[in-house]
Amino acid sequence: MSYMERHDDILNIAENWRGDGREVAIATVISTWGSAPRPTGSQLVIDGDGNFEGSVSGGCVEGAVITEAVGVISSGKPTLLEFGVADENAWELGLSCGGKIRVYVEKVN
């Protein structure tokens, strides 16, 4: 088994899902401040039904990213999301660790 066959290889999953005819978006951590749980470059792959693999924050904001990704899949337009404790919905969307992250969400065309 090479690393490409691993369950957690996001870009491989994205290619396979796309090959299966599923609509796919990829979310990527673009930058982090403070004690963000996942490093820059971490990725999440999402399909049109909201199924996902991977992690951009260790679970803190995945729900919001998935919701946005489903929107990106239907609009086709990439978007840049920002999460931090300063958000109004801190308890729902923020990072309890006090870090901040920006996440780029794009559709695979």
Partner: protein, 233 residues
């Protein structure tokens, strides 16, 4: 992201090519640059060079707006000699830490699919096979057979490579004899000092699993604590 770019990145990663996937966050335009084809005329040449060396993805402010450089360096790999008891414990742990694993052992009785299911197992001599494994700066080599006939050629090849970690199982006494042999073979003291021996961090490991933990901890330190600028190849 264009589906064909995604495919190209995946093909390059299988081929252990270092690549950077560049996204213009303002326009959404994207391109892929391979380290082997990095052009000095590229407007981002210096930044890309630094990103390949550092191996870390990052955003980059330019006059025309912000770019994101997603850096894909080859996955680290652990090549072991010896389909032995310790490698049975070590290979699943190494894999859990994200390393690809290859085991080389000429002894058919040791390297069976039953003992090592679902793994790249080469039944042959390190001297014959190591040159074909593409050993690079993302590769660690650990010798585990205790048998100089098998381990020495592997170590000799390792010492002439830029593998990021080289470890050899065996007591201090065994290693002293090994150093004598490698010295006789023409290796300098400095080169031989690259070998971690006795292999692993000194945590008083007794069982094969504990020895595997100590090896993996030492390997991890070699990988993560090295200066980012040292990454080459």
């Amino acid at each position: 992201m264009d589906q064909n770019l995604l495919k190209q990145i995946n093909v390059d990663r299988v081929a252990r090519l270092a690549t950077i996937f560049i996204t213009d966050l303002k326009t959404g335009s994207q391109r892929v640059v391979r380290e082997s084809e990095l052009d000095s005329g590229d407007p981002l040449h210096q930044d890309l060079l630094a990103a390949f060396r550092g191996g870390k993805s990052r955003s980059l402010e330019t006059e025309d707006g912000e770019l994101f450089l997603n850096v894909f360096t080859p996955p680290t790999r652990l090549i072991m000699t010896g389909a032995v008891h310790i490698s049975q414990a070590l290979y699943p742990m190494a894999r859990a830490c994200g390393h690809d694993v290859v085991i080389v052992d000429p002894r058919e009785a040791f390297g069976t699919d039953e003992r090592f299911p679902d793994i790249e197992l080469i039944t042959g001599w390190p001297g014959d096979h190591f040159p074909n494994l593409g050993i690079d700066a993302y590769t660690a080599i650990v010798t585990l057979t205790h048998d100089p006939k098998i381990d020495d050629p592997a170590l000799e090849f390792a010492l002439n490579s830029n593998a990021f970690y080289i470890g050899a199982l065996g007591s201090r006494k065994t290693h002293a004899r090994r150093v004598e042999r490698l010295t006789a073979a023409g290796f300098s003291e400095a080169k031989i000092a690259r070998i971690a021996a006795p292999v692993g961090l000194d945590i008083g490991a007794k069982s094969p699993s504990e020895i595997a933990v100590s090896i993996l901890a030492q390997l991890t330190a070699a990988l993560r604590l090295r200066a980012s600028g040292d990454r080459e190849g």
